[in-house]
């Protein structure tokens, strides 16, 4: 068994043996699985092959996460040693694994320990892979010198003479770079992820197009979506300007340059460093930036570097950020003589250097995508393919593939001009409006690839076949067939590998577009890592103008319907696009042409105008004069003049503020805001009487695990209890209360959607929301008992109206039982946190340490937040946002009080006097269920409250069931003075609880109220 497993790790599977890891694991007993983990552990430590080692670690994680847990008995006891957890938090994953394995040898295997091992192996996998990629990027030839240049005397770059100011009043020349973005018609199953390309270069292939964009209905023509400018200035600083973000700074020290999260200029800073203009080796050297700039451009001189994204929103799936980084790096490399030509296109080796430095820049900025993302640096249509590492390569002997792929730009034979035109005429490129983090998807793809799961592996092979078909279509000019293939790719391999690449919004758009356009609809193409943002619809070219209008309307309509359920960042747009034939391209602007873009001046001029003319630097004055003469003096400048006037005199917002202020007050009044309590909280908070540190138990408190008898074991159903519960259900003695007041959610990466409405997964062939799933469970329980179960959803100011409208639109999903909404009756107004609490949160509680660069980003961000809190005023009301965002629900337990305050429970009891128990649970606790056996036991115990607890696994953090000072208590993790105390606790609180209702007094009921959700609308 072990030998077969190791053969799989090494990619050798003898005929007749199981070909897939999961087949082997599913057939194995617990003893066999444990033997496999021992063999893998030994193998990974001994093998010299990097990817064999990594795959073995992935196998180990999967066995502990998926295959061993079902073999543990339900009452399997086990604990996790805190020491191991601490190692994992500090990213010492090897030490953590050693600690967990030692604990396993001494105390036996357990579900809890397997969860800890799985987490540690997971951390080790990605740390190992990321470290290898970073090491390779650093050792790529052409990049190494930047890491060893640590002294100005060793600084080797000089600015090209053409860029030096000519003297007198003549303006300094400006170097101007424009870069297209990239669009992929197929990435063959995310095969451009570095880890895949470096292990399986034969399968790493992407068909990548460089495109110019314009927004349909706004822009007259298409143009490269990103551009950058550089000129020499007479101050020894790096003046960084992001026109689109409206941010600028004069960076005068190396410390500021390497501080990426201090402002919105992190990308520009990363480009300055990754291009070698300020080499990485100078970080922390203590030298003056002015000294470096003097060597680069001459004493007393500096550089102004300007970046601009031409109104392309985030989440376009067109790698706008990476191509902007590539654009800036190309610009800076040209300026410092690191390219052959100052202007024009780049050579192939130069493009490769730019691509490798863009990878480096992304790592410096704590982000990262795939290797196709800098595709805009290249021209036209190209196949990007992984390459086998050869002797002499830094990757040779470490990975099968090279870090950087090969770019093969298609010539006329591979894609004729007519085909390119037909492609442009047939594809409608859109931004659907959703903006999501694709990072988790890339992680899942990596995991599934390295485990070589059967279904996913076949899907990957099919994706490769589809890509070959697409290439053939480009050769033959068959765009209709190409559209079929990209559609098959989306519904086939892409969703087989990652179902979350699709979503309810996208699938609805496709279905309705197909219906609306009829035969003119040709297909769909997903761009980048996931759908919902940048996407493409293939149509009959003759119908493109009509289809464009229809699609825009369809997207806007659908977005309005789903905006509370899915994370939308903007209104949908349709793009005009054209294939860019030259890739990144530069020109030198001299004399009268030495000007930045009009948008630059729209951003800068208002500040100059407001400045005292006597203090305005000469350089700025000359800039202003040239801009006024060149742009405002021109005949066709009416748009620019208007825009400038709007910048100088922004439309008054006083009325808006007033409305917003009233609205906030109204919201507070409507939702039960208690101003007296609010002021008391503020006073207590500022006086230090309450706060996060004060929320902790005293250090002297004894925290122990529960004793026998504290928890009622329900690992198997008791027949008598089940019968008792079934009878209670049948008699209508139970109602379900689902807590649905929350907005931010891990399901949407924190985006402000209504969690209850989020269509989180495809079940039974379509996407379902949490709300629908919980109703389905209540319906099933009711049918089994022969009685309709009342179901209540608690709501808040953020969720009430969307949930009500959603239920109305979907006619309660056919739920025939009582369905009620319980609107919030308690609300809090957010306050600016105190520096004391922020410091406590960051410094006194344990956190997962991140990758070096990400950790730097986090530290920088924390410093900025701390400064914000102090400057804005600790404990002040937070009102600098939309009124709805300034409020917060006050906590789960207020929902029970709300049931009393809003009369919903009263009305329910009037209709159902037999009601005796409530099952209360979180909206995303999918395991919460009206289990008759649990209900029966709760009733038999005759306690007011029963809490469902589960045996803790590592991910169940945040407290648990404990005896504190001898008293049984559900304690929050933050309340524990010693973090290690949490690791003593066997049970974790699910928050699913059963609540007994005191018998009602019938004479006290006021008149009845309608049962439908509509009747519960707030007044």
């Amino acid at each position: 068994m072990e030998q077969r497993l190791l053969s799989l790790v090494e990619g050798q599977t003898p005929a007749g043996e199981p070909q897939y890891f999961e087949q082997l694991c599913r057939a194995a007993s617990r003893a066999e699985l444990e033997a496999m983990t021992a063999a893998l552990e030994q193998f990974r430590r001994a093998t010299p092959n990097f990817y064999h080692r990594v795959r073995a670690i992935f196998f180990l994680e999967a066995i502990h996460r998926y295959f061993l847990p079902p073999h543990y008995a339900a009452d399997n006891a086990g604990s996790i040693p805190f020491e191991g957890h601490q190692h994992a938090l500090e990213r010492r994953f090897e030490e953590a694994i050693d600690t967990f394995l030692r604990h396993q040898r001494e105390h036996g295997a357990s579900d809890a320990l397997s969860s800890a091992l799985a987490a540690a192996y997971h951390g080790l996998e990605f740390k190992t892979l990321a470290t290898q990629v970073q090491k390779t990027v650093r050792t790529v030839r052409g990049n190494q010198w930047m890491f060893r240049t640590g002294h100005p005397l060793d600084y080797p770059l000089r600015l090209r003479a053409e860029l030096l100011p000519p003297g007198g009043d003549a303006p300094a020349p400006i170097l101007f770079e424009e870069t297209p973005v990239r669009m992929d018609l197929s990435h063959a199953g995310w095969s451009d992820i570095f880890f895949l390309g470096m292990d399986y270069p034969e399968g790493a292939k992407v068909l990548n197009l460089s495109i110019d964009l314009g927004v349909f209905g706004r822009d007259q023509s298409t143009r490269p979506p990103v551009c950058a400018f550089l000129r020499v200035i007479d101050e020894p600083v790096l003046r960084l300007v992001s026109v689109d973000l409206g941010a600028s700074a004069d960076v005068a020290s190396l410390a500021d340059l390497f501080d990426f999260a201090k402002d919105y200029l992190g990308l520009l800073k990363a480009a300055v460093i990754a291009s070698g203009v300020v080499p990485s080796g100078l970080e922390g050297s203590g030298h003056d930036l002015a000294e470096i700039l003097a060597r680069l451009a001459g004493p007393g001189r500096g550089l102004e570097i300007v970046s601009q994204v031409r109104d392309i929103p985030k989440g376009s799936r067109l790698a706008v950020s990476t191509n902007l980084l590539g654009c800036l790096i190309a610009l800076l490399m040209r300026a410092t003589g690191q390219t052959g030509a100052l202007t024009g296109e780049l050579s192939e080796p130069e493009r490769r250097t730019v691509a490798s430095r863009a990878i480096l820049g992304e790592w410096l900025g704590g982000s990262g995508g795939g290797w196709q993302d800098s595709g805009g640096v290249w021209p036209g249509i190209k196949m990007i393919e992984g390459e086998l590492a050869q002797p002499g390569d830094v990757e040779h002997g470490v990975s099968r593939g090279r870090l950087l792929p090969r770019h093969r730009v298609f010539d006329e034979a591979a894609a004729s001009a007519a085909t390119r035109q037909a492609l442009q005429d047939s594809l409608i490129l859109v931004h659907g409006g959703m903006s999501q983090n694709v990072g988790p998807i890339l992680e899942m793809v990596t995991e599934k690839y390295l485990l070589k799961l059967e279904r996913e592996w076949h899907a990957r092979l099919e994706a490769g076949e589809i890509l070959r078909g697409i290439v053939e279509c480009l050769k033959t000019g068959d765009i209709a067939r190409l559209a079929e293939l990209t559609t098959r790719n989306f519904f086939g391999p892409i969703q087989t590998i990652i179902p979350w690449a699709s979503n309810a919004y996208t699938e609805r758009l496709i279905a309705e577009a197909r219906q609306l356009l009829g035969p003119a609809f040709r297909g769909f193409v997903m761009l980048g890592g996931m759908s919902g943002g940048g996407m493409g619809f293939w149509v009959d070219p003759a119908e493109k103008p009509r289809a464009r209008e229809l699609l825009l309307d369809l997207m806007r309509r659908t977005k309005r319907e789903l905006q509370h359920a899915l994370p939308f960042a903007m209104d949908p747009v349709v793009y005009d696009f054209s294939i860019n034939p030259r890739g990144t391209h530069a020109q030198l602007l001299t004399g009268d042409r030495a000007l930045f873009s009009p948008e630059y001046y729209l951003y800068r001029v208002p500040a100059w105008v407001r400045q005292d003319p006597r203090t305005l630097p000469d350089a700025a004055r000359r800039d202003l004069e040239r801009f006024l003469a060149r742009h405002l003096g021109a005949a066709n400048n009416s748009g620019l003049s208007t825009a400038l006037l709007h910048r100088l005199f922004p439309p008054s917002t006083a009325g808006g503020s007033q409305r917003a202020g009233q609205s906030l007050r109204e919201l507070l009044d409507e939702n039960g805001f208690d101003p007296l309590q609010h002021e008391q909280i503020r006073a207590d908070l500022l006086a230090g009487r309450i706060g996060m540190p004060q929320n902790r138990l005293p250090v002297s408190a004894t925290v122990e695990d529960v004793r026998p008898g504290d928890v009622v074991p329900l690992y198997s159903a008791d027949a008598a209890d089940a019968a008792r519960g079934a009878e209670l259900l049948r008699s209508g003695a139970v109602a379900v209360v689902t807590l649905a007041a929350g907005a931010g959610s891990r399901w949407t990466q924190g985006a402000g959607t209504v969690k209850a409405l989020h269509p989180f997964a495809k079940l039974g062939g379509r996407h379902r929301s949490f709300l629908e799933v919980h109703l389905a469970k209540s319906r099933r329980a009711g049918r089994a008992a022969g009685c309709e179960v009342p179901h209540l959803f608690t709501t808040s100011h953020l969720t009430h109206e969307p949930i009500r409208a959603f239920l109305e639109k979907h006619r309660n999903f056919g739920y025939t039982g009582p369905l009620l909404l319980s609107p919030g009756r308690s609300i809090g107004l957010r306050m600016i946190p105190t520096a004391r609490d922020l410091r406590f949160q960051w410094e006194e509680t344990a956190h997962q340490v991140l990758d070096v660069q990400q950790e730097k980003m986090r530290q920088s961000l924390r410093k900025a937040l701390l400064d914000w809190a102090v400057k804005t005023g600790e404990g002040r009301d937070y009102t600098d946002n939309l009124p709805l965002q300034c409020l917060h629900p006050v906590g789960h337990w207020f929902e029970i009080a709300n049931l009393l305050r809003n009369g919903v429970l009263r009305d329910l009891l009037r209709d159902r006097p037999q009601l005796k128990h409530l099952l209360l649970h979180n909206i995303d606790t999918l395991g919460a269920d009206l289990d008759p056996a649990v209900l029966g036991r709760h009733d038999r115990e005759a306690r007011p409250l029963a809490i469902e607890v589960i045996r803790r696994r590592l991910e169940d953090r945040g407290g648990g069931l404990a005896r504190v000072g001898g008293q049984l208590r559900l304690v929050e993790g933050m309340a524990l003075a010693r973090e290690e105390d949490e690791f003593k606790l066997t049970f974790y609180n699910t928050l699913t609880c059963w609540i007994a209702i005191d018998p009602p007094t019938p004479t006290a009921w006021p008149p009845p109220c309608a049962r439908s959700p509509r009747a519960c609308r707030r007044t």
Binding site: G142, P156, G337
Partner: protein, 288 residues
């Protein structure tokens, strides 16, 4: 036909070079003479029979005045217009004819660390290897902006010899790392030209072809040397000695010190330096 070098070209036509070779220095033997005369003495001592001096328009008289003792062995070649270093070399085509030749710059002096002069070492190597050889020196990447740089592979069994594959003119470290890494050097060091080459007449053909392809454009030497590496066997040799660049900041001073320390006045120079250091130290405030 044996590979024997009897002719040398010295270039002195660069805008910044025009007066430097005429600066007077004290040679190894304590005699005062122009820098160019020191170079000529080393060349002639190494067996060079005829020297062609490429100078800028109007400079001949100044050179003739100080180099009268070498009149019989010296040919003056005028570069009519400043069209690049490659063009200056091409001006010597007729003088050299169809035989290998030594090419040196006039603003460098060479100080050998052995009994054999640097010129002599290079000529011996070229004749032994029967091919073009450029003298090189390991140079830190911070100085790449001043020199032509070579990349290639070590010649097996021949210490200090590299088979040249690429020649880049003043590369950035980015390019140097990609094309000019040579095994055996310290990290961040590259083989940069020493200002002394033995070249074959094939170079003139490459320069002429380039001139024809881009008439009127400045003609560099490094692109032609890069082409030469692809055309024939071409080696780089690390000599047992060092260069003193007169053009660099304090270049003349350093050249003088280097010459003095390698000659009969070594102890006088050392004493002089020690005295200067002591005087300078006296003026510094004492550290607490």
């Amino acid at each position: 036909m044996p590979f024997r070098v009897t002719k040398a070209l010295i270039t002195a036509a660069g805008p910044s070079q025009r007066r430097l070779p005429l600066q007077t220095l004290t040679d190894r033997d304590g005699a005062q003479q122009p820098a160019l005369a020191i170079i000529l003495d080393e060349l002639l001592a190494a067996g060079i029979e005829q020297v062609g001096l490429v100078h800028a328009q109007g400079d001949r008289a100044a050179y003739e005045a100080v180099l009268a003792p070498y009149a019989g062995k010296l040919t003056f070649i005028e570069q009519a217009a400043p069209l690049g270093y490659g063009h200056a070399v091409l001006c010597g085509r007729e003088f050299v004819g169809r035989q290998p030749f030594l090419l040196q710059v006039s603003d460098h002096l060479y100080v050998s660390a052995s009994a054999k002069s640097c010129t002599c070492q290079l000529l011996d190597l070229a004749e032994a290897e029967d091919c073009a050889v450029s003298a090189v020196q390991p140079t830190h990447e911070g100085q790449l902006q001043y020199y032509g740089t070579v990349g290639g592979t070590l010649v097996p069994g021949r210490r200090g010899l590299t088979a040249i594959e690429h020649v880049l003119e003043k590369p950035t470290p980015t390019l140097a790392e990609q094309h000019c890494l040579v095994p055996g050097l310290r990290a961040g060091y590259y083989l940069c030209f020493f200002g002394m080459h033995v070249l074959t007449p094939a170079l003139f053909e490459l320069l002429a072809a380039e001139q024809q392809a881009n008439p009127g454009a400045k003609l560099g030497l490094s692109p032609a040397l890069n082409a030469l590496a692809a055309h024939e066997k071409y080696l780089a040799a690390v000599l047992d000695g060092r260069r003193a660049n007169l053009e660099a900041t304090f270049g003349l001073l350093r050249a003088q010190i280097a010459l003095g320390l390698s000659g009969s006045s070594r102890s006088d120079i050392l004493a002089l330096l020690a005295e200067e250091l002591a005087l300078a130290a006296e003026k510094q405030p004492a550290r607490s």
